[in-house]
């Protein structure tokens, strides 16, 4: 096949008003029509959007879900979180590949299908999971996979697949302050109007609400700074990228508490005088698009979104949905803003910060889904209500995604200050060996640390809690995490671009039984380097799994080492393979051993 231009390109461009900031949304539409993005399409797009061709090519090359070459009519991507792996995803992948007679990573000769891996898809409470043509399917079993294989083999259009395949379950196991207190659409906004903007901002300040997306920055301080920044235009951005493996609480909040999240965004807009908002949704959560758009529409019809909100003249605010495209780094706030502008998701240099120079360099408030939800509840019920639970430095509650070796994986709301043990008990964890809190970027706790508390000042969490029982190989866990970071590094800065790959190689070597003490030393020095000199949080945290493993489970690593001496960094004997093949030799001199004579 030569290189055709996307069939519907002019329609797609028209739908997006030829707006270059919508490049990523446009590319999604091209993918939906063609399944890949051809060179000629890139050229045509750059012409129509007035962008340099290289820039468009660079955007296509940055995001995992944009494909510069044909990759099968059905592209199947197995979620590669450690919980998927523990639930048997690798074996299931092989099962499907055998059923469809295709090599993983390769397009089948007839162009029908390609099978591969993707970073955690956020269905860890109902894994193992996969994406087919971008649509999520959870609770994989051999039976469900044979249905999927049949549908692919019969070339059934995905729209005609049985809907129950795509059903995403909900598992709220514990609701506390935020999730059990009602907040009817508009109620918090009316409370704001009744109390007044300044008093509401003060209330938010007294609540000491800290960001729920990871960094824990004071929300009122952020909003106040944005309100004070000069200029007429301001933006509100909701970070629903939720890329941290093991995290899915924002998925549940957007599915079941969307109005409260939108209400929080609208309150922010009122307090900082913003007119436009964006909800940046990870592409893995495609199934949330329709319900979210419906919620926007419903609120517009109720006068809660759009022009003259609540009938107040000049209170104009509306929200657009933007999809990510498979790049974890776009959860980092400044990379997210780049992505919203239609660019590669490279974190910006700071200062200046988004509150003064955000979307299109205009003052911008950017918060996590849960932060907006909490802000709405605080506007409605007040700071005192919120501060009734939690610790002095971590007020209120935290919504968690609990997964791994627990009987009841799902979503839990706990007051800050709860012990990790209590959380695990409630979820039904047995024989805990270790817990990964806040995802690979967070910390690994050993069984002796379970009485530590969930709190910014002790064990902070952006949402994820993954339990590993005694049967799990913690080296395999670390290897999975290290591989994740190597795949997701944006490549901007030297320490993370190279360090994540070096760490992946070392962990692969150790786990496969070829590691040496020298590899361990390198892991340590690379970790120090990445922490000290990376440009953004991804690089700062990417070595955490390695550092925690070596600090808390060193004997497990040492026992796995093949030697204390340096061993070859590559398979020596295999390196003679090509020459053996051509010469037909197989004598002793045609082989090399790992350790030498």
């Amino acid at each position: 096949m030569s290189d055709p231009i996307c069939r519907d390109l002019s329609d797609i461009l028209r739908r997006h008003h030829q707006d270059p900031t919508r490049l990523i949304q446009i590319l999604h539409d091209v993918m939906a029509v063609e399944g890949w993005i051809s060179k000629t399409t890139i050229t045509e797009l750059s012409r129509a959007l007035g962008l340099p061709r290289g820039q468009v090519e660079g955007v296509v090359g940055f995001y995992s879900f944009f494909l510069p070459e044909p990759s099968g009519q059905f592209r199947v991507l197995f979620s590669d979180n450690i919980t998927d792996e523990h639930q048997g995803s690798r074996a299931l992948l092989r099962t499907l590949a055998e059923a469809l007679e295709v090599e993983p990573g390769q397009v089948r000769a007839d162009g029908r299908v390609k099978i591969g891996l993707t970073s955690c898809t956020g269905l860890c409470d109902q894994g193992p999971a996969l994406l087919v043509k971008g649509r999520a399917i959870g609770r994989l079993t051999p039976e469900r996979l044979s249905v999927i294989a049949g549908l692919i083999e019969s070339n059934t259009p995905i729209e005609q697949w049985p809907p129950d395949l795509f059903h995403v379950e909900s598992h709220f196991w514990r609701r506390d302050l935020l999730l059990s207190t009602p907040c009817d659409p508009g109620a918090a906004m009316r409370a704001l109007e009744a109390r007044g903007s300044a008093a509401t901002m003060a209330e938010l300040g007294r609540s000491d609400l800290r960001g729920r997306g990871g960094a824990g920055f004071n929300t009122a301080a952020k909003w106040t700074a944005c309100a004070a920044a000069p200029g007429p235009e301001r933006y509100i951005v909701c970070n629903a990228d939720e890329g941290e493996p093991g995290t899915f609480k924002d998925r549940e909040l957007l599915a079941h508490y969307a109005h409260q999240v939108i209400e929080g965004m609208t309150i922010a807009a009122r307090l900082v005088s913003a007119q436009r908002g964006f909800l940046y949704l990870r592409a893995e959560y495609q199934f949330l698009i329709a319900p979210l758009l419906a919620a926007f529409a419903e609120r517009r019809s109720q006068g809660l979104l759009g022009p003259n909100i609540l009938g107040i003249s000049g209170f104009d605010f509306d929200i657009e949905l933007h999809l990510g495209a498979g790049a974890y780094v776009c959860g980092e706030e400044s990379a997210l803003l780049e992505s919203l502008e239609g660019k590669r998701g490279i974190p910006r240099n700071r200062p200046p910060y988004p509150v003064t120079h955000g979307y299109l360099n205009k003052p911008t408030v950017l918060n996590n889904v849960e932060t907006f939800l909490a802000a709405a509840q605080i506007a409605l019920h007040g700071a005192e209500w919120f501060c009734a639970v939690g610790t002095p430095k971590s007020r209120g509650t935290k919504i968690l995604s609990v997964a791994g070796d627990v009987e009841r994986p799902g979503t839990y709301e706990f007051p800050f200050g709860t012990t990790i043990r209590a959380i695990l008990d409630e979820a039904g964890a047995k024989g805990v060996q270790a817990v990964q809190v806040s995802g690979p970027a967070g910390m690994l706790l050993s069984a002796s640390e379970l009485d530590r508390k969930l709190a910014f000042e002790d064990v902070p969490s952006a949402g994820s809690v993954m339990a590993f029982d005694q049967s799990r190989d913690l080296l395999g866990v670390t290897q999975n995490f290290v591989r994740f970071f190597a795949h997701e590094s944006c490549g901007f800065c030297t320490p993370c671009r190279v360090g994540t790959t070096l760490n992946r190689q070392r962990m692969d070597r150790i786990v496969s039984g070829h590691g040496t003490r020298h590899d361990v030393e390198d892991l340590e020095s690379v970790a120090r380097l990445m922490r000290a000199s990376s440009h953004c949080g991804l690089g700062h945290f990417a070595a955490n799994p390695v550092v925690d493993l070596l600090r808390k489970f060193r004997p497990k690593v040492d026992r796995r080492l093949a030697s204390l001496e340096v061993l070859p960094s590559f398979d020596l004997d295999a390196a003679l393979g090509p020459a053996r093949e051509l010469t037909g030799r197989d004598d002793a001199g045609a082989h090399l051993s790992e350790e030498g004579p």
Partner: protein, 241 residues
């Protein structure tokens, strides 16, 4: 002693600072060298190579992008930071294919010269031996991506000075790569001209003017006679920012 209100501490010495200066600018103005690779005084600081990493009040930051204020404490040449910079240079050698003896840029190359200045003798890490493109299609220019350190200077120069956008970046992580603004991907199919700024900013031997290689004898090349430290500081003196 200078007025304590207008100085910061650089490795224990009080150094003057003017408002808006970055750590790099203030250090250079005072005659202290900080190694850089992705930095070019005519362009906005970039902060990607990280070899200018210093400690500002105990926190590691890139000196090229970070403003310094009176009263700050900056650490530059501690053993820890020197080791870190050496490792970063080794990372760059490890991820590309650098064979200096046959490189046209040898002697004029910033990566090499910074390696010398930092006392880097060997790779330490196992080389990745990537398979990268060489583009010889253009009559006057050779693109040798095996040596590209992804500093984006050519991208920035072509966009901001030449207004041509001939270079861009694609891929991510270790697969990040320089691409050429043409459907064919070939330099010959762009409007690149010999006078373009983009041709004169590459810190290494990745963008080369053809028929210029090895013209200058060993001993007379940029960093043969004067070290990169001396050269950078001379430049800073001539052109205080």
């Amino acid at each position: 002693m200078s007025d304590p209100k207008n100085t910061f501490s650089l490795d224990g010495h009080e150094v003057p600072v003017t408002a808006g200066q970055t750590i790099l600018q203030a250090a250079e103005a005072s005659g202290s060298w900080i190694p850089t690779l992705c930095h070019h005084p005519e362009f906005e600081p970039h902060g990607s190579c990280r070899v200018c990493t210093v400690k500002l009040n105990g926190r590691t930051v890139s000196a090229c992008t970070t403003p310094v204020r009176a009263g700050d404490v900056v650490e530059l040449d501690t053993e820890e930071l020197k080791g870190l910079r050496q490792n970063l240079v080794q990372f760059l050698f490890t991820e590309g294919n650098h064979f200096c003896p046959s490189c046209e840029q040898s002697g004029d190359c910033r990566l090499q010269a910074v390696g010398y200045a930092l006392g880097v003798t060997g790779g330490h890490y196992n080389p990745l031996f990537p398979s990268r493109r060489v583009d010889a299609s253009h009559p006057d220019v050779l693109l040798e991506l095996n040596r590209c350190i992804l500093c984006e200077l050519c991208v920035r120069a072509s966009a901001q000075v030449d207004k041509k956008d001939i270079f861009a970046l694609s891929g991510r992580g270790i697969d990040k790569q320089l691409v050429v603004n043409a459907e064919s991907g070939r330099l010959a199919d762009t409007n690149l001209a010999l006078s373009d700024k983009a041709l004169s900013v590459c810190p290494v031997g990745a963008i080369l003017k053809k028929r210029q290689g090895f013209l200058v004898p060993i001993g007379k090349r940029t960093y043969d006679e004067r070290s990169i430290r001396e050269r950078d500081l001379d430049r800073a003196k001539e052109d205080p920012q």
